[in-house]
């Protein structure tokens, strides 16, 4: 597979998809703030929306709306609407995930008084320490 300008430009939507996907995934992994994690997750999901939506594009294709008299001209190229429909569903799923995540963060804030992962982990480590003191030690597997 020779790398040419055509290859780079012709696959522009994939490059952007990979860039967005990795940006999102990196934020999820690298950020300790729960809200930032959710933002990262959103970017990650959005990259997939873009992958789907861009694959429905057909060069020279028009909007996939049939004329009302149903006299379809076989010469006319239509874009593929199915990926868009699929991604509508995925967007709904994404919104549900985001709202649930934010609701959980609100509850975490109420209980732990912080939305930073490391502070939460410190507090949880203390609880585990207390538990081990009163109920006997455990070896690993509690993080």
């Amino acid at each position: 597979m020779a790398v040419s300008i055509d290859f780079l430009v012709g696959h522009l939507n994939y490059w952007l998809f990979i860039l967005l996907m990795m940006t999102g995934l990196y934020i999820v992994v690298a950020r300790g703030n729960f809200v930032k994690k959710v933002v990262g997750l959103n970017i990650f999901q959005t990259s997939v929306f873009m992958l789907y939506v861009s694959m429905g594009k057909i060069e020279g294709g028009t909007a996939p709306i049939f004329p009302t008299d149903l006299n379809i001209d076989p010469e006319v190229l239509y874009s593929n609407p199915l990926p868009h429909v699929l991604i509508l569903t995925a967007i709904v799923v994404g919104i549900a995930t985001t709202s649930l995540a934010l609701a959980l963060i609100v509850r975490i804030r109420e209980e732990y008084d912080t939305i930073e992962e490391d502070v939460v982990q410190e507090k949880e480590a203390k609880i585990v320490e207390e538990e081990n003191k009163s109920f006997g030690p455990a070896l690993g597997g509690q993080e």
Partner: protein, 507 residues
């Protein structure tokens, strides 16, 4: 324009609509519970819905036991354009497991939920339980790749909320749910990327149609990338060993009912998806797939069997021990898949059922102990054999089934698994299966020791009789399916045959 619709409308009688009913019954009951909003009515309605769904699944299983396949066209739109529900022995069997577990666990749920969850959340709890149940049934019933994703997310989203309901007892349920949400969403998104790549190469989403079209271009790099994305994505939901990190905390801090239901069904439905995609969509002779199974899935399966069992031995909390044991047991199922033989697949499918049942019994027992002793740390359970003899006895029976002692359900699946290993000539693997079962002996023995050989605590809280009774019924079923092996083993062999036939088995 709609004239062609009638042609495809093959479903005419009530029986023809069974595949969709199994999913629709809990799906419609869930919002009804919220609309009624009555605490007293929520539980009976949920129980009726899951029992009806169980009945439907049972009828479906009877219909496909002889190798038939039911193809149901949603809204009468013919596949591959329309969404199709395709029921064969493999998914009828898993649907039977899921609906059976829901029906078994709900009687237990009534008093357990009263003890563990705030009153104002009861109606919502049962609603979420039913949506989770709907999602799992849908994942298994559907023959459409994108539909799998949608149902997977329906079940996952309700699972996150269900786990977070454990926050009333331990606030760590919230972070457990949040972590699961992050990892689960990454998994689901990977899965969707995989499906997107497949759609790009084939232009179809129907599984049988996908299988046909992949056949011609199985050495395409895009198809391989799609396979990798799908396996990793669903691997997160299955909790394949290095991808298991969400599981222990989620199981430990979730309410007991939720732990029991998830351990029995959620990972099992995910394993079914893995099976369906590896065998029906990508076909067994998809050479790249074969290598993946032997060189990636097999080592991780064995790693899970040992590493997770070792961690389970050194826990101080019964519930966490069971969570790690679940990860180890998932290793056995993956091992069965990695053998890539009919016996191996049958072993994986039988183990999927038997382990679901066993773990449901064990987690229900933990639920009883949690009410009686206020927690599930070994220290709190000392001498429970005297205070709660029936529950303790049920726990021991289920524990024995977890080890795989003859006469219990666990034995049947391990026997098949070893048979599959020997059939392949992989005797070191057979030895490893036995060796890891010995680790299970150790962690189950610790439980027996705590329950029966320590001085009993002075006072325990009274526990509900229905909770004890359902736990006992679940344990008794472990023995029943260990003795009457015909039903499960036959169905599993039928399912394995169908799966190994690849896309030919899908029509």
């Amino acid at each position: 324009m709609m004239a062609t619709e009638d042609l495809h409308h093959t479903a005419t009688t009530f029986m023809d609509h069974l595949p969709i009913l199994a999913v629709l019954i809990p799906f419609f009951t869930a919002p009804v519970l919220v609309l009624i909003g009555n605490r007293g009515l929520a539980w009976p309605l949920a129980l009726i819905a899951s029992a009806l769904s169980l009945l439907v699944s049972f009828l479906l299983l009877l219909e496909v036991m002889d190798g038939d396949i039911i193809s149901y066209h949603l809204g009468g739109w013919a596949p591959p354009l329309g969404i199709e529900y395709r029921i064969d022995a493999a998914n009828a069997f898993v649907m039977f497991l899921i609906s059976g577990m829901a029906t078994l666990i709900l009687p237990f749920a009534r008093d357990s939920v009263r003890a563990e969850i705030e009153e104002r959340h009861h109606v919502l709890f049962y609603t979420l339980f039913l949506t989770c149940f709907t999602g799992l049934m849908g994942v298994v019933a559907t023959g459409d790749a994108f539909n799998v994703f949608v149902f997977l997310e329906i079940s996952s989203l309700s699972t996150y909320a269900l786990i977070a309901m454990g926050a009333g007892r331990d606030k760590r349920a919230l972070t457990a749910a949040f972590n699961y949400l992050i990892m689960g969403t990454i998994g689901a998104t990977f899965f969707v990327i995989g499906i997107g790549l497949l759609y790009q190469m084939t232009g179809t989403l129907n599984m049988a149609d996908l299988a046909d079209r992949i056949g011609d271009q199985s050495d395409s790099r895009t198809i391989r990338a799609a396979f990798a994305f799908i396996v990793v994505g669903i691997g997160l939901k299955v909790a394949i060993y290095p991808l298991h990190l969400w599981l222990p905390n989620a199981y430990v801090y979730a309410p007991s009912v939720v732990s029991a239901f998830l351990a029995a069904t959620a990972t099992k439905a995910a394993i079914y998806v893995l099976l369906r995609f590896t065998f029906s969509v990508f076909e067994p002779d998809f050479i790249f797939g074969v290598n993946t199974l032997e060189w990636i899935i097999l080592p991780f399966a064995i790693l899970a069997m040992f590493a997770a069992s070792f961690i389970a031995i050194f826990q101080n909390d019964l519930k966490r021990m069971l969570a790690y044991s679940s990860i180890a047991q998932i290793g056995y199922m993956l091992l069965g898949i990695a053998f890539l033989s009919e016996t191996g697949l049958a072993a994986a499918i039988v183990h999927l059922f038997n382990h679901g049942l066993t773990k449901a019994a064990l987690f229900m027992g933990v639920g009883v102990f949690a009410v009686a002793a206020g927690g599930s740390f070994y220290k709190q359970l000392e001498g429970m054999g005297k205070r709660l003899p029936w529950t303790s006895f049920a726990m021991v029976i289920a524990g024995i089934s977890l080890i795989g002692v003859p006469g219990t359900a666990g034995f049947v699946s391990k026997w098949l698994l070893i048979e599959a290993a020997l059939e392949k000539g992989w005797w070191p693997v057979a030895i490893l299966i036995v060796a890891s079962s010995l680790l299970a002996v150790i962690y189950v023995w610790r439980l027996v020791e705590v329950l029966y050989m320590r001085p009993a605590a002075a006072e325990v809280q009274p526990v509900s009789k229905t909770m004890v009774a359902t736990t006992f019924v679940a344990a008794a079923l472990c023995v029943w399916f260990g003795l009457a092996t015909g039903i499960t083993v036959d169905a599993a062999h039928q399912a394995a045959n169908g799966l190994l036939a690849g896309s030919a088995g899908m029509r």
